[in-house]
């Protein structure tokens, strides 16, 4: 029952008290969520977190609100925070949005890409193939983030980063065995090196579609304790 110990593991050396411990706590939680160390549906009691990180509930609450606005955690009136478990329709929407945005963005990426960028992407791919499952998921997200960053548009990068994070949640809920993402990225690197736009865009769209197709929406793959999403659309206070 004592969640504090669990969250202590996340805390690490967050001793940057007073200054901007917000950022450190945010990073710790973000990584834990993206790496599936905290599963969708898991509750995040405020004072367990505040005790684990050694800050007051005020600070924790601020970080939780930020995560809620990014749709990584869900805040419900008087019921606290828990890791968001996306509904199937939300999941499909995220993939649709990513196909659209990443496809369009590649047109901006291709003219700007440098050999150094390709090297960086290769390095991430390299680590992906070697990493444990958990880290592989984060690295896969990092691969896509690094890719869109080449377009050098903060607005678009930020919007897509949110979608990429949410994808990790979706895989946590509906993913089976292993997503095909990591192994495939090398193909994209080759296409990028070739430099033709249309094949790159086609590949990305197919890549995302493959991942989406590998999901299993029939069952709640993980221990998913909230049926609110599945059945009743009770009034939720979720910040749009």
């Amino acid at each position: 029952m004592n969640d504090t110990r669990q969250f202590h593991l996340l805390a690490g050396q967050v001793s940057d008290r007073g200054a901007r411990s917000d950022e450190a706590i945010y990073q710790a939680l973000w990584e834990a969520i993206v790496e599936h160390r905290l599963s969708p549906g898991a509750r995040l009691p405020e004072d367990a977190l505040s005790h684990a990180f050694g800050v007051s509930r005020t600070t924790v609450r601020r970080v939780l609100q930020r995560l809620a606005l990014e749709q990584l955690v869900t805040l419900r009136q008087n019921r606290g925070a828990q890791i968001t478990s996306p509904t199937p329709s939300e999941a499909r929407d995220v993939f649709r949005a990513r196909r659209l945005m990443e496809g369009a963005l590649l047109a901006e990426v291709l003219p700007r890409i440098t050999p150094a960028d390709l090297k960086a992407l290769e390095a991430i791919h390299e680590r992906e193939t070697r990493a444990e499952r958990e880290h592989a998921i984060r690295l896969s997200a990092e691969f896509h983030s690094r890719l869109v960053a080449i377009a050098d548009s903060p607005s678009l990068s930020e919007a897509l980063s949110q979608l990429i994070s949410r994808t990790s949640l979706i895989i946590a809920v509906y993913g089976r065995a292993r997503a095909g993402c990591p192994c495939e990225h090398i193909e994209l690197i080759e296409l990028l090196r070739a430099g033709a736009l249309a094949p790159v865009q086609r590949w990305m769209s197919a890549h995302l579609t493959r991942i989406e197709a590998s999901l299993d929406f029939t069952a709640s793959g993980d221990a998913l304790p909230d049926f609110e999403h599945l059945f009743g659309h009770h009034r939720e206070q979720s910040a749009s």
Copy 2:
């Protein structure tokens, strides 16, 4: 000295105490910002707002944080909140992002558009042409929001809504006389009715480029954050 009266005008009937007054306060501030009743650079003291809306600083702070994450206000350490004044490079980035996203999104909009949608857009356009300047700006934003909503993708709608709001800020800082936006929208409606994708996309791109071209970035340097406001527009719009 007393900002409270100024903010009281925004408060309206926000008497939904205890429940979700957050949303009401957020809406009031959002509208005031988008309609340029609060100009970029204007400070938002916490206790003036809390007094005006009749809630505690805690609540105000939560709303301000949300607006900050949407980049409508800027929070600085120990210096409080003020309306964001986008830099020229941020402004250009927003327009680039909008050209990309709205262009791509139109491909999703066109197959889904219904006569009812066209009627709704026409109604907004109608009000645009008749409205005062301030309301026209909000209605112009509403026109674009309503347009992207037709694609029926919450993720994309939300991402674009943020960009649209930020555009309003950009016009507040760099806009001259009047933006050509309102009058032109009728052209888009005609093109949408015709139903050919390519002309619609071309028009939208040109539309956004026209607005961007009508801005005047010479006033302030890119590198310096907000000196133009510290020196140039030093006054807060204290009416009385």
